[in-house]
C-alpha cells in the first residue's frame, strides 16, 4: 500500500449516523482500563484520541520513507516529499480550500493565529486601528492581539456574549465601524456555541476589515468549506481531529497570504539568499521555516482520511443526537443542581458541555470523576474573559466525539452522583 493510502473505515451506518461500537475498535486507547474502570474519554475538545490508521501511518512513514522534504533527489526523499505534500492536498480537500497553496502547516492553531497577528498584523495595522474579537474567544485569539495593543496601539473591541450563550450582535454595526480585523471562533470551546460565520464575515468585509476564523473546534466536528465562508484566514489544529500533536493549519486566500510577510524565517521558506537579503519562497512554503513536522503532516493526512471515511455529515449528525441526549438526560437526572452553560438547542451548538454541579468546585468534581475512569476537563479552558462574563471561576467540561455514545454520558452521570455522595452535598 502506498504511503498516502490509509484504509477507510466503513463505520457510517446506513441511516447516516455512526456505528460507535465499531469506531471504538479503531481507537486502541479506548481498550485501556484506568483505576479499574473502562476509560470514558470525554475531553476531545481538549485533544482527541487517535485511530490505529493514524498511528500506523506515522510509524510507516518513519520505518519506510523518513527523509527531509524538498531537498533530496533520492527515492525515499521523494516519497517523504510526496507524503508531506499529499497530506497538504488531503487537508485542502477536506476543508474545502481553493488549492493546497492556501494551506500553511503550523505547529498548532495558536501558532497559526499568532502568524496572522504578528505577520499580517504588524505589516498592516497602525495605532488606533480597531480589531474586533468576541468574549467567547480562546486565549489564542486574544493574547496575540493584546500584544499588538501594546506594540502598535491598536484598539481591541469585544462582541459580547448573551446569557443564552450566543453572541449578542445588537451593537455589531457600531463595533465593526472602521475595523481592520474581525477575528472570531467558529465554535466556542467552552459553550459549544456555533457562531454565525457567514454573517460575521459579510459584516467584516462590508466594514473594510479582514475576517479571521478560529475553526479549531469546528473543523473536527462539522463539514467545513473554508473558501465558501469568504473569510481571509482560518486556523485549526490537527490533534483535535484524530491527528497527532505538533501540526496545525493556517488557511488563507492566496491574495492575503501574498500580502503577508514571512513570520518565522530561515530554511525552507526562502527562494534565494544573498549577503544583501533574501527572497521568500512561493506559497505555502513561504510560511514554513525550517524542517516541517513531516510525520505529523502524514498523520494528519491519515486523520483526514479517517474522518472522510466516516463522513463529516454523519459525524455532525451523530454529535447533534448525542448532545441532545446528554442535555436531556443530565437535566432530567440532576435538574437545577446541574447548570449546563451555552445554547440549549443541539442544532445550534457542538458537543461541548460546560457545567457546574451545585457549589462543588469543578476541580473537586473531576477528581472524583477520574476515580470512575471518566476524563473531563476542569478549569477556565483558556477562556478567562468568558468565564468572567459567565460569573464563574471555572467549569467542568465534557466534550463528545465520534467514539462516544449514550453509555459514556450515563457513566458521567453516575460519576457525578458518586461525587455528590462523597462530598455529602
Amino acid at each position: 500500500m502506498a504511503l498516502n493510502e490509509t484504509p477507510l473505515s466503513r463505520a457510517a451506518t446506513p441511516s447516516g449516523g455512526l456505528d460507535v461500537a465499531r469506531i471504538r475498535k479503531d481507537f486502541p486507547i479506548l481498550d485501556r482500563v484506568v483505576r479499574g474502570q473502562r476509560l470514558v474519554y470525554l475531553d476531545s475538545a481538549n485533544t482527541s484520541q487517535k485511530p490505529r490508521s493514524v498511528l500506523d501511518a506515522i510509524e510507516r512513514y518513519y520505518e519506510q520513507s523518513n527523509a527531509n522534504v524538498h531537498r533530496g533527489t533520492y527515492l525515499i526523499a521523494e516519497e517523504a516529499t510526496a507524503a508531506f505534500e499529499g497530506a497538504r492536498a488531503k487537508v485542502a480537500g477536506f476543508v474545502g480550500a481553493g488549492s493546497p497553496r492556501e494551506v500553511v502547516f503550523a505547529k498548532n492553531a495558536t501558532e497559526a493565529l499568532n502568524l496572522v497577528a504578528k505577520a499580517w498584523g504588524r505589516a498592516n495595522l497602525r495605532a488606533g486601528d480597531p480589531v474586533v474579537i468576541t468574549e467567547l474567544e480562546h486565549h489564542a485569539n486574544i493574547v496575540p492581539w493584546h500584544q499588538l495593543v501594546a506594540e502598535l496601539g491598536i484598539e481591541l473591541r469585544w462582541i459580547p456574549v448573551g446569557p443564552d450563550g450566543h453572541l449578542d450582535l445588537t451593537d455589531l454595526d457600531r463595533l465593526v465601524d472602521g475595523a481592520r480585523v474581525v477575528s472570531f471562533a467558529a465554535m466556542s470551546n467552552v459553550l459549544g456555541t456555533l457562531n454565525p460565520i457567514e454573517r460575521l464575515v459579510d459584516v467584516a468585509h462590508a466594514a473594510g476589515a479582514i475576517a479571521v476564523i478560529d475553526a479549531s473546534q469546528y473543523v473536527p466536528h462539522v463539514p467545513t468549506a473554508v473558501a465558501a465562508w469568504g473569510a481571509d484566514f482560518a486556523a485549526f489544529t490537527g490533534h483535535k481531529m484524530c491527528g497527532p500533536t505538533g501540526i496545525g493549519v493556517l488557511w488563507g486566500t492566496e491574495e492575503i497570504l501574498d500580502a503577508t510577510p514571512p513570520f518565522l524565517t530561515g530554511g525552507e521558506m526562502i527562494l534565494n539568499v544573498t549577503k544583501e537579503g533574501f527572497t521568500p519562497n512561493e506559497l505555502p512554503w513561504k510560511f514554513e521555516a525550517g524542517t516541517p513536522p513531516i510525520a505529523e503532516a502524514v498523520g494528519l493526512g491519515a486523520a483526514v482520511d479517517y474522518l472522510s471515511g466516516l463522513g463529516m455529515e454523519a459525524v455532525r449528525e451523530h454529535e447533534v443526537g448525542l448532545t441532545g441526549y446528554a442535555l436531556r438526560s443530565l437535566t432530567e437526572r440532576f435538574g437545577g443542581d446541574l447548570q449546563i452553560h451555552g445554547p440549549s438547542e443541539p442544532a445550534q451548538r457542538g458537543g461541548v458541555l460546560s457545567f457546574t454541579y451545585r457549589d462543588l468546585h469543578p476541580h473537586d468534581l473531576t477528581q472524583v470523576l477520574d476515580q470512575h475512569g471518566v476524563c473531563v476537563r476542569a478549569g477556565h479552558h483558556c477562556a478567562k474573559p468568558l468565564m468572567r462574563e459567565l460569573g464563574v471561576a471555572a467549569t467542568a467540561r465534557a466534550s463528545l466525539y465520534v467514539y462516544n455514545d449514550e453509555s459514556d454520558v450515563d457513566a458521567l452521570g453516575d460519576a457525578i452522583d458518586a461525587a455528590s455522595d462523597f462530598f455529602a452535598i
Binding site: 482500563v33 483505576r35 479499574g36 468546585h361 472524583v368 477556565h380 471561576a393 471555572a394 462530598f423
Partner: protein
C-alpha cells in the same frame, strides 16, 4: 492506588466548608497580594498585617477548590501570631512535604500513576493540622492547589520586606 480518602481528609473538608480568617484587611497598612493557579483559574487574595517581626493578622479572599481553600485556611490559622522566621520555616516545611522527587509517568498501564512521597519536613517544625494535606502529593496535579496560598504568602512577605526597606 491512592483513594479519594487520601486526598480529602475530614479536616480538609471541614476547613473547606468553614474557612478560617476569611475576609479583608485595609491595605495599606496591610499588605495585599494575589496569587493565581493558571491550571484551573483559582485565585487567592491574602491580606497580611505584619507588626514588627510577626504576623499579627491575616485575612483570605478569592475562590478555589477544596484543596486550595482548605490549605489557605489552615495556613492562616498556623501562621497567625508567629514570627516571620517561624512562618518561613513553616512554609519551607510545608513545601518540602509537597515536593515530589519524581513523578512517574511510565507506570504500568493499570492507571497507577503514583508520585513518590515527598521529603520529611524539618523535625523541629510541627505542621499540625497541615499534615492532613500530605495525601495531596499522591495526586500530583493538585499540588499546585495546595501550595497556591503558600507561594502567595511568600510573595507577600517579600513585598512587605521590600516596602519596609
Amino acid at each position: 492506588m491512592p483513594g479519594l480518602e487520601d486526598l480529602y481528609r475530614e479536616i480538609i473538608l471541614d476547613h473547606y466548608r468553614n474557612p478560617r480568617n476569611r475576609g479583608e484587611l485595609d491595605a495599606p497598612p496591610a499588605t495585599r497580594v494575589e496569587g493565581f493557579n493558571p491550571l484551573c483559574g483559582d485565585e487567592v487574595v491574602l491580606y497580611l498585617d505584619v507588626e514588627g517581626d510577626s504576623v499579627r493578622d491575616i485575612r483570605i479572599g478569592g475562590q478555589g477548590c477544596s484543596i486550595s481553600q482548605s490549605s489557605a485556611s489552615m495556613m492562616s490559622s498556623a501562621i497567625k501570631g508567629k514570627t516571620l522566621d517561624e512562618v518561613r520555616a513553616l512554609s519551607r516545611a510545608f513545601k518540602g512535604m509537597m515536593s515530589i522527587h519524581e513523578q512517574s509517568l511510565d507506570g504500568p498501564p493499570d492507571g497507577d500513576g503514583d508520585g513518590e512521597l515527598g521529603e520529611e519536613p524539618d523535625a523541629d517544625v510541627k505542621l499540625g493540622d497541615l499534615e492532613a494535606l500530605r495525601g495531596v502529593v499522591k495526586f500530583p496535579v493538585r499540588i499546585k492547589c495546595a501550595t497556591l496560598s503558600w507561594n502567595t504568602l511568600l510573595q507577600g512577605l517579600d513585598e512587605h520586606a521590600e516596602a519596609r526597606r
